[in-house]
């Protein structure tokens, strides 16, 4: 904070030239990292807890002696649910605060806005959320699921359960559009039927028309990529129209434990979700993580896939720094490939393209808002940023 104030003064008085900027990367045995999430605005509900998870990992590392003998100093910035703000704040973190890495971002739009900033300033970003793939910047470590680590396994699961007539419903932005483009190709390739495809503006709450269209299309299952509050409206209006998990199941990619709590578990009971992580995973690392998080942020706090990824990202970065013996982003990027560790998600490995090799689970929502794991990928799944069927010939360099 004090740093911020001195800087502010400098800027408006136009007086001190370069003098105060000596506050560079590693003064006094600390190393600065940025945490950049939406602390305000519509995305804050999801992102604050992700920032909390990253903070928890940083606190744990600091308590255990830091990274290469240096304590981690966090510079927290607010992306304010506004994509250009993410770009601005990323630039501030890299050029003014001189952080060595940034943990942050949720929406694809925020990541796309930050990408040029990280490339220009040769920074490093850890991005913890599932996304549409089709991107592999050397300056970003994508730890959330690639499409082949969430969407496709979900489709396979649905087909294996005999759901052959599929309706695709999503919010109107890049992730649902791309995920559904890929799903459509695979639905056709597998000989299943596409009942229909609908998109509702982000934050949209009126589903009457959509439900009429679903009714006319008579699907067996809905693959749902709606985001945020739209889910609540959708499930309410779906229920009012007489549907339930037994008559028309819905499998979702953006509903985790936290969203389930806010939607109201009653509306969701029996519905499905696919993720790389559920709070109920029984591995010991996860048990420890859940206990530590709930000790710090409340014993009923829900823990989700992106939170688990964000927590693990800090440890991944630490491992890479120690392997590279340097905080320098390009060295860290180089060192991180091949690192493997036990995480709350189970065993993960960083692939050459900067994404994780990780397992995929399908869960069914129970009464308490927790998901019971009912399906699991055979072993871990290698990340494929470009779906071979949909984007033939494309791959990461």
């Amino acid at each position: 904070m004090s740093h911020k104030i001195t800087d502010h003064k400098k800027q408006i008085t136009f007086l001190l030239a370069l003098s105060m900027l000596g506050s560079s990367a590693s003064a006094q045995g600390t190393v600065k990292v940025g945490v950049l999430h939406s602390l305000t605005g519509t995305m804050s509900i999801s992102e604050i807890t992700v920032a909390n998870a990253a903070q928890l990992a940083i606190d744990q590392i600091n308590a255990a002696g830091g990274v290469m003998g240096k304590k981690i100093e966090v510079v927290k910035e607010d992306g304010a649910s506004d994509w250009p703000t993410f770009a601005t704040k990323a630039e501030k973190l890299l050029t003014q605060d001189k952080v060595v890495t940034v943990f942050g971002g949720w929406t694809s739009a925020s990541r796309k806005a930050m990408l040029p900033v990280f490339e220009k300033n040769k920074g490093l970003l850890f991005y913890p959320v599932q996304f549409e793939g089709n991107e592999c910047s050397p300056n970003i470590i994508y730890t959330g699921a690639q499409p082949n680590q969430q969407a496709l396994p979900a489709l396979e699961w649905a087909l294996s359960k005999g759901y052959k007539n599929i309706f695709l419903l999503g919010s109107d932005y890049v992730y649902p559009r791309t995920a559904n483009l890929i799903l459509k190709k695979h639905i056709a390739a597998k000989g299943a039927k596409l009942a229909g495809e609908e998109y509702v503006a982000l934050g949209g709450t009126e589903f009457s028309s959509v439900i009429n269209k679903i009714k006319a299309a008579k699907p067996q299952i809905i693959i749902n990529t709606l985001n945020g509050d739209s889910n609540v409206s959708f499930f309410k209006q779906y229920q009012a129209a007489g549907y339930s998990a037994t008559t028309l199941p819905v499998i979702s990619f953006s509903i985790a434990e936290q969203e389930a709590q806010s939607i109201g578990p009653a509306l969701l009971t029996g519905q499905y979700a696919t993720w790389n992580y559920f709070q109920s995973l029984p591995n010991p690392t996860n048990k420890k993580f859940v206990a530590a998080y709930q000790a710090k942020y409340g014993k009923n706090a829900a823990i989700t896939d992106p939170m688990a990824h964000a927590y693990m990202d800090v440890y991944l970065w630490k491992a890479a720094v120690e392997k590279a013996k340097s905080f320098e982003p390009s060295a860290v990027r180089k060192a991180i490939v091949g690192i493997s560790m036990d995480s709350p998600l189970g065993k993960i490995t960083v692939a050459a393209n900067g994404s994780l090799t990780q397992a995929v689970y399908t869960g069914q929502s129970g009464a308490g808002g927790q998901f019971k794991v009912i399906g699991q990928s055979k072993g871990v799944v290698t990340p494929q940023p470009y779906d071979a069927l949909t984007f033939p010939g494309k791959s990461c360099p």
Binding site: K4, A17, T40, A113, P116, A201
Partner: protein, 354 residues
């Protein structure tokens, strides 16, 4: 503020701005450059609202047209020959949409930065003023238009990249946008455009055209029955506002390296207006100053105390309207001795005179 202090202050400010790259930090410079780019749109609002009395809540539309015109070219320039922009591929688009095709040409795109917003503004104005739609109707219609534009952008991802917006640019007319001195040069370039926009608008408002604009704002019927065609003047002013917004949008896109629907929507458009109101809707320098200082304050305060920021901003809206209808510039003007009343800071025409 007397007549001696004012020019001195102007010269000092201009000098400080010109030399900013030599004493500001890299981040400070990008921030300032970005805000200066935005302030060009404020000049447009000053003309259209302050002088013309037309409150447009849809300046984001023209800002967006300017920004997207440039961004489309930058995106095509960053895409290997024979390929489609990445987002089109991910949306299953198989051929370059027709309206993208001419934007391959750099000079064409640069011309469109100016022409497209100007034409769009003129067309919107023609539709409204032809039917003598006035006052709050205009605010509501322009707001609806910018919402329609943003909704269309969001809903047509294959054509526009949707909510993500267009990003990841590399070169403009062969200049590497990630090069060494680009920040500094872009800053100066922005400052030049801003200066040129200020001077030419100030000149314009000193002509009979400026007088008539005020006359129409105050009493449109009187002017009409003196034989003028008020709609023509209002269309011209609105088109000028569109042009300036478009320029601002293009420069802002260059500074930020991205343009997206979230940057140009209803909230953005209203925020522009309130900064102008704070600075003084009748004063060019007031409008620009209000926007620049407001945005800088926003950057600082919103990261220091994010929650308080919205309260502060909301309160500011109310207070400015209740207490300072002519903005800070109006406040400075009021302090001056009343008569004999020469032209003052509040009156645009005098502000940039040598």
């Amino acid at each position: 503020m007397n007549r001696v202090a004012q020019p001195i202050l102007l010269v000092v400010t201009a000098g400080a701005l010109l030399l900013a790259p030599f004493y500001l930090s890299a981040y400070g410079l990008t921030l300032l450059g970005r805000v200066l780019a935005l302030s060009i749109a404020a000049i447009g609002i000053c003309v259209v609202w302050g002088r013309g009395g037309i409150l447009s809540l849809g300046q984001g539309l023209f800002f967006g047209l300017g920004g997207y015109s440039l961004a489309m070219h930058l995106k095509l320039a960053a895409t290997p020959k024979g390929e489609l922009p990445d987002f089109m591929v991910y949306n299953g688009v198989e051929a370059l949409p027709w309206f993208w095709v001419p934007f391959v040409n750099g000079p064409f795109a640069l011309a469109m930065v100016v022409i497209l917003p100007t034409l769009a503004a003129a067309a919107v104005a023609w539709l409204m003023f032809r039917r003598r739609i006035t006052g709050v109707y205009i605010s509501i219609i322009t707001q609806a238009l910018v919402l329609a534009f943003v909704t269309w952008l969001n809903g047509s991802q294959g054509l526009t990249s949707g909510t993500n917006g267009i990003t990841d640019f590399h070169t403009l007319l062969g200049i590497d946008l990630r090069g060494e001195h680009i920040a500094r040069n872009l800053y100066w370039c922005t400052l030049m455009v801003l200066g040129a926009a200020l001077l030419s608008t100030a000149w314009l408002l000193r002509t009979h055209f400026g007088t008539l604009l005020t006359a129409i704002r105050d009493n449109e019927n009187r002017v009409r029955f003196l034989g003028y065609h008020p709609a023509a003047y209002k269309i011209a002013a609105f088109a000028l506002g569109g042009l300036l917004s478009g320029l601002s949008g293009a420069l802002y896109t260059l500074h930020l390296g991205t343009i997206s629907p979230a940057m140009i929507g209803v909230t953005f458009s209203i925020e522009l207006v309130i900064w102008v109101a704070l600075g003084g809707r009748n004063s060019l320098l007031g409008a620009v100053g209000g926007l620049v200082l407001g945005q800088l304050a926003k950057d600082k305060i919103s990261s220091a105390v994010p929650d308080a920021w919205l309260y502060l901003m909301g309160t500011l809206f109310v207070v400015v309207v209740l207490v300072l209808p002519q903005g800070v510039a109006g406040l400075l003007e009021r302090r001056k001795p009343a008569a004999p009343r020469r032209k003052t800071l509040g009156e645009v025409s005098d502000v940039v005179s040598p």
